[in-house]
Amino acid sequence: MDALDQLLKTFFDWEAMAAVVPNMLTVGLPNTLILAVSSGVLGCILGMILAIMGTSRSTALRLLSRIYTDIFRGVPAIVIILLIGIGLGPLIRELTGSTNPFPLGILALTLMASAYIGEIFRSGIQSVEKGQLEASRALGFSYNSSMQLVVIPQGVRRVLPALVNQFISLIKDSSLIYLLGLLASQREIFRIGNDAAANTGNLSPLIAAAVMYLVLTVPLTHLVNYIDKRLRTGRPEKPQPDDAAALIGKGAQP
């Protein structure tokens, strides 16, 4: 039983977890969210630009978008974060006097995410039936207005699930920012767990970090399923006639 106790102690030391949780909630969680949300929003903007370039009628724009996407999708996240975060660090320090690694970390995550998000948007835009563009052009809308009013809104709707998946990836990838060196107040969920684990020689704080990531990501995966279902069936689920009848019929609640 000693070995089992040892194992439990290593992973599920409640005291070690309890010690780290307050810091994780007040410092780690906000920082993780700042990293993930800001690079998610910026990644969507850049991704939309890439998708519009990738579906444009200009060969040069399509090529440019293709090259960008191939590079930033093909290189591991950790390489991009190190190259951008450490490589551009001195330049930023000289220009702004700031040593905060967040802007460059967000930039690295954005560049990477936008390559994936661009492909997601592009596939959505290209899945919209040709007749939609044609009908819009026939009404007298220009190509650009047709894309903006008719094609892109439909394309984006179709890829919302994939987009949420990408955001889940961002939440997890934001943990790599620790490589850029964080002050105590800049640490995100993983770094706080990792530091505590290193100090105590116990892995329980990392389990706490893992749980915190799950609290963020699991609801999102269910949101994906919900959106997916809603997109497939059209409108939000209406109560089935049987459910509605039960309100007044035999099985009705008093």
Binding site: R137, Q154, G234
Partner: protein, 245 residues
């Protein structure tokens, strides 16, 4: 149906090739103001392409297009298309917008009408096609026939001078065809200039003023419906009519 500010439309010697595929080989088509021209022919004969060339969704390689006697090839094609309404086989309503928003979109964005006025005009158009009560529904919740009537309302809302119908009833269940054809006949009676690509020989014969028979990218025969249907001159039209009637 009130009268329309319709105009005449002429295609002159229109040519179009996709690569080595010569789709239109010198088409002449003239539609007098306020009349209906039906275009018939076997599939692949270039009928639908002809419509798309006449409103410059596809630019012709050669030839001229006249609206009310004036060449429109040098005009902005987007502005030309605001003057020509088009109805498609697959309806092509915008599924992410409500019925009334489908109809009012171009009024708001192209005519720059304030939202309330655009909605009021759109509701008026929907009333004309008998679907005002569906204004806030989504296209997906409408039958094919209703969708096509909304598509007609959407095109009419821009007060076009000419209306194109590209096999507007081909995708409809048989019992829904009648309502759409009746609406098209009303428009024709109301004085709209119409070009109707169709397989509905009854409509062709009873409603249209002229019939044009196309095959393999050329106009084979053209004239009043009685003449073409009772006394076809060419073997190709005789063969086509015996296949479809």
């Amino acid at each position: 149906m009130s009268d329309f500010a319709s105009g005449s439309l002429t295609g002159k010697n229109l040519h179009l090739s996709f690569g080595s595929n010569h789709v239109l080989r010198g088409i002449d088509l003239h539609v007098e103001k306020g009349t209906t021209a039906s275009v018939i022919g076997p599939s692949g004969s270039g009928k639908s392409t002809l419509l798309r060339v006449m409103n410059r969704l596809i630019e012709p390689d050669q030839g001229d297009i006249l609206l009310d006697g004036r060449s429109v090839l040098k005009d902005n094609p987007d502005e030309l298309r605001q003057r020509i309404g088009m109805v498609f086989q697959q309806f092509n309503l915008f599924p992410h917008k409500t019925v009334v928003d489908n109809v009012s979109l171009a009024l708001r964005k192209l005519r720059k009408l304030p939202a309330e006025q655009a909605r009021a005009e759109a509701l008026e158009q929907l009333d004309l096609v008998g679907l005002k009560h569906k204004a806030d529904a989504r296209p997906a919740n409408l039958s094919g026939g209703q969708q096509q009537r909304v598509a007609i309302a959407r095109a009419l809302a821009m007060k076009p001078e000419v209306m194109f119908f590209d096999e507007a009833t081909s995708a409809l269940d048989p019992e829904l065809v009648k309502g759409v054809l009746a609406l098209m006949a009303d428009l024709a009676k109301g004085g709209m200039t119409m070009v109707v690509v169709t397989h509905e020989m009854g409509f062709c014969r009873n409603v249209s003023d002229t019939v044009t028979f196309m095959d393999a990218g050329v106009v084979v025969e053209s004239g009043p419906p009685e003449q073409l249907f009772t006394n076809p001159q060419t073997e190709r039209l005789q063969g086509f009519l015996s296949d479809v009637l």
